[in-house]
Amino acid sequence: MENLHLFGVGLALGLIVIGAGLGIGRLAAAAAEGIARQPEASDKITGAVNLPLFLLEGVAILGEVFALLIVLMK
């Protein structure tokens, strides 16, 4: 029972991956569809996708950092 926090961390990491995967997947799908409709706008679409992509990834990484902190500091 004293390792209950590990169970919480495992659950948290799974949820983080689900959240990040869903969000980034939707971004990628929208970008691919946009490029398919208008191939000449591909540079602009890539530029527009870049920023939210890395912000989302940053959020996921921050979550993982806090999860690691919970494991290490009990």
Binding site: L51, F54, E57, I61, L62
Partner: protein
């Protein structure tokens, strides 16, 4: 490898206990009580040189020799014609200036802000890349197996320069203090950008655009102020966590060999786990190379975006 030297170094405990400590040991700084070069305290700040400070200097020298000095020699020619390595530098500088700095900052201020963005990019790229090279691990293995210098018995800590040099991680951007320093530069750069374009007071007034109903301001201003601090904090944590996380993943996969060998008390199990462990560690190292490039690009891009947001205030 040096892992064997270190496992005879820590006192007792099963392999599982030692592995966790070992991994953290490999990504963090050298021991702060026993730095590489002991320097005096000035006004309460300990100036001693730890492993990461030494790596900062090494990365700085590397960037100077690879980027700064060739650019200076190139600019001193009569008719500058790039050749060889200068072509690469020119391509990178052009890419960053035209697709990162200029769309965000506007063509009027490109020459003002391009240098700091380029500095960020080259420094973070080189710092991340140097962290991937296992120079000190190879030196440790060389020490242990060829020169046959054994680790001292557990309990006796031998803290000379070489020993401290071999312990601790080489990724300087994995230390969140280093990335916090870089993010602080961005924090002040945002304020300087806004103040130079709009005037000092107007920069703060631009946080809350005019023409909104007054209850919105009560929520908007605290959110903007918090956002002002959260953006550099996110920059810090993003870079540090990405770098550390990649290294921890590689080390954890390599530690499977030791863990499985200990769990089943047989060397054959350990060696057969190596057939899985080493290709996987290689694949993740390949992924790490991509992460190195991407994280340098992202830090640079986000700094340029934040500076651009302070200069062109259009929501």
């Amino acid at each position: 490898m040096s892992k064997a030297a270190e496992q005879s170094h820590t006192a007792g405990g099963s392999v599982l206990d030692q592995v966790g400590e070992n991994i953290i040991h490999h990504v963090s700084n050298s021991s702060l009580d026993h730095p590489l070069i002991q320097l005096p305290h000035i006004w309460g700040i300990d100036l001693s040189v730890s492993k990461h400070v030494l790596m900062l200097w090494i990365v700085a020298v590397l960037v100077a020799c690879s980027v700064i000095i060739p650019i200076r020699k190139y600019l001193q020619q009569d008719k500058p014609q790039p050749k060889g390595w200068m072509n690469v530098i020119e391509a990178v500088v052009k890419f960053i200036r035209d697709s990162i700095v200029q769309p965000n900052v506007g063509s009027k201020h490109v020459d003002t802000w391009a240098p700091i963005i380029l500095t960020f990019f080259f420094f973070i790229l080189f710092a991340n890349g140097v962290g991937l090279l296992p120079i000190f691990d190879i030196l440790g293995a060389f020490n242990r197996f060829i020169l046959d210098i054994h680790a001292p018995p557990p309990g006796v800590e031998d803290h000379n320069f070489i020993n401290s040099l071999l312990h601790g991680g080489a990724t300087v951007t994995g230390n969140f203090n280093v990335t916090a320093g870089l993010a602080t530069i961005t924090f002040f750069a945002i304020m300087v950008a806004g103040s130079r374009t709009h005037g000092f007071i107007n920069h703060w007034k631009n946080l809350a655009p005019p023409g909104l109903a007054w209850p919105v301001y009560i929520i908007l201003i605290p959110i903007e102020i918090i956002g002002m601090f959260v953006k550099p904090f996110a920059l810090t944590m993003r870079l540090a966590a990405n770098m550390t996380g990649g290294h921890i993943a590689i080390l954890a996969i390599l530690s499977f060999m030791a863990i499985f060998a200990d769990m089943f008390h047989s060397t054959v199990t350990g060696i057969s786990v190596a057939l899985f462990s080493i290709p996987m560690a290689t694949a993740i190292s390949g992924l790490e190379i991509i992460v190195v490039l991407v994280q340098a690009y992202v830090f640079t891009l986000l700094s340029a975006v934040f500076i651009g947001m302070a200069i062109n205030v259009h929501h």
